[in-house]
Subunit: 415 residues, 2 copies
């Protein structure tokens, strides 16, 4: 079956807001074997909305429309749908109760304009909104089944997953395919090389499709499988997954979408271990990523963000001779920083970064993109020099941080 997506609203049309909903919906539909052929965006303009809905109804079998379900006079989607379908708007009691229950939960007064949100096109089915005031609805026009959802991303996502996808899959009927997606997150391979390593998966496992998604500096390898027989499909996906994991080896961070900082946090927790950091070039990003994980206070104790040499000496106990002889960006300095962080924090592990993020500060010997990562554990400590050719300050901070976390991950896993 073919589908289109229509995003509505002046914020998106005028460019005040980037439309991330359409990409999200496309990905979900494509993962479930529904081909998305076109996205459209129009503003809060009744004739244009009606025209766009009619065009879509003429072209495809399925459509998801986002936005324009709120209480204000700018919210025109239900009226446009009614006009496009040639029906009246009618008060929908369950929709009204949906709106009402939200206001009750939050103990806020409901206004007359919220009553408008319960006016749905005649013949439409309510799509209950469990997390907001705007109920959605579904409606068939011409040959197409339309699903109207709010524009607020977390409301849209929940209603799409819980209500729209099941109905779309049942509409596929005899043609219904079971589908699976396996996401393997990797670090340390460029996208092209990751792609080459797993390019053979489609030939080795017929019916499995390969996708690559770069989320700098991580690369996600995605395997999509579809079959009418769910048991056969699970077996094939399992085999294809193991095949890909073997080829990607130690570059695999997770098999479930987990991010590097969450993986490292989990490994520390599982070992009842803790971490102290010393950061120069990453400027706090390493600590920031680790502490983005809820519950990180169970293992994260301290980071010394030491830009100045004085702070490296005073706070971390780096030896002045080391700095004098080798400079701040050196394996020996990084190692002493990690040892100092471990000692000051009283933690199981110490991890450090010292490098040149740019734009200035590079030399022939140590160009912008050079980073030294220091590691200190119960058994040993070391410093390691790496170089990344990206050139941009913010990209360098990210990849330096990721490289340091990857060194810690491999030490924790003893790989």
């Amino acid at each position: 079956m073919k589908a289109e997506i229509l995003a509505t609203g002046d914020e998106i049309r005028s460019g005040a807001l980037v439309d991330s909903n359409s990409a999200y919906i496309s990905e979900k539909l494509e993962e479930n074997g529904i081909e998305v052929v076109r996205h459209t965006c129009v503003g809060d303009d009744l004739p244009l909305l009606v025209a766009a809905l009619r065009e879509i109804g003429d072209r495809v079998d399925l459509a998801v429309v986002t936005g324009g379900l709120g209480p204000t006079s700018d919210d025109l989607t239900a009226e446009a749908a009614a006009r496009a379908a040639g029906v009246e708007l009618r008060f929908n009691q369950p929709a009204f109760e949906n709106v009402e229950s939200f206001f009750k939960t939050f103990n806020r007064p409901m206004t007359e304009s919220n009553r408008k949100q319960a006016l749905l096109p005649d013949g439409s089915n309510l799509l209950y909104n469990p997390v907001g005031t705007a109920p959605g609805f579904s409606l068939t026009m011409q040959k197409c089944r339309f699903f109207f959802l709010p524009g607020v991303p977390y409301e849209m996502r929940r209603m799409l997953t819980e209500q729209v996808m099941p109905e779309m899959l049942s509409l596929q009927g005899d043609a219904a395919m079971h589908s699976r997606v396996k996401t393997i997150t990797t670090f340390g391979l460029p996208e092209s090389l990751a792609g080459e390593k797993v390019a053979g998966v489609e030939a080795a496992f017929p019916g499995v499709k390969l996708g690559l998604r770069a989320n700098f500096p991580q690369i996600q390898v995605k395997l999509y499988g579809r079959d009418t027989d769910p048991a056969l499909l699970d077996q094939r996906m399992d085999q294809a997954g193991r095949w890909a994991l073997q080829r990607l080896g130690q570059n695999v961070i997770s098999e479930n979408g987990e991010r590097m900082e969450a993986v490292v946090g989990r490994l520390l927790l599982e070992r009842s271990a803790s971490i102290g950091l010393a950061e120069s070039c990453t400027g706090g990003l390493l600590a920031n990523w680790l502490t983005n994980v809820a519950g990180s206070s169970d293992y994260f104790l301290f980071s010394g963000v030491t830009y100045s040499n004085r702070a490296k000496i005073d706070v971390l106990g780096v030896r002045p001779e080391t700095l004098e002889r080798h400079g701040a960006v050196h394996e020996k300095t990084a190692r002493e920083m990690a040892e100092g962080a471990r000692r000051v924090a009283g933690s199981t592990y110490g991890l450090s970064t010292s490098g040149i993020a740019g734009p200035d500060g590079g030399t022939e010997d140590k160009p912008v993109g050079t980073v030294c990562v220091g590691y200190a554990g119960p058994d040993r400590s070391f410093g390691r020099r790496l170089y990344f050719p990206f050139g941009k300050r913010l990209m360098n901070k990210k990849i330096f941080t990721m490289a340091a976390l990857d060194i810690l991950r491999k030490e924790l896993l003893k790989i």
Copy 2:
């Protein structure tokens, strides 16, 4: 004049990539008085591309198309444009030299497939690409002037600004309007309140339009002006700008799009001052933002990210009695942290955060969203308690960080 935008490419159609180009282009066009009425996205599919181009050519005066100008067999935009216009593709020598010069600059071998990028529809005008291999072109079909640009954002943006906008403005001819945009960045006002404060600007200064853009936790107030007389326009924009600045008062961070961390960095530099930080709940984000600014090593010396009480005591010299009596989240603790950071860093100023970012750790007295900011300067030091009702960990980290920077900004400006 009315315009549409067409984004092409399977990555966008399938949702692998969010289309941020269309929002960027819309904003530029709208700022220049050109109304954007619709965005469309289709994949790398020749018949669909041709159909979309013909529809757009029937509907509007101007169109910007992005993507599909590369060397591979998936890149179909030039061929689709030729078919939609009913003309042939023809080898374009200046386009070829554009591609060639890029390869020469980077000392890379050119392949036969790159030659394809110099095949442009007959009757089109080359749009030179100064930063990539894909030349663009412009072409009139039906009543519409089309501009075809690469999909790589920084190539597209540069060609749009340097080549497309001037031609579009000249096409407006007698209707050509001069346009100005003034962007005022604010912090500390909710979007609705910022809007209320400046709502009168459109009535007070006819021809000036108001826009608000939330970039959490900052709010941008935008004033758009258009006139045929540039001197009158400048005068009116100047007056409207001063009017808005007065109403927004101390909540104004910058008048030129500068971000908070850049403003604070500039204020420190101007005073030949330096900064040391102590972070608990912001977990390194404060240091990370400040060090995202190139050249920040001139004033940023140190941050102690002290999650554990031990690190607060050992590294920052917070008194154990203060922690025992008041806990980690308290004005007194925050003040001692800031004083400690200033002392350890040997910096002019010290700034600290201690709070509850969530999801756990809140109490009735100090719910999730509570933060204490500490300030220490040459003349005085203090701690201040704030509360933000956003509830989510990552949002709390951001707004705590911004609130701390805003306290430092106001101290530096003595406002």
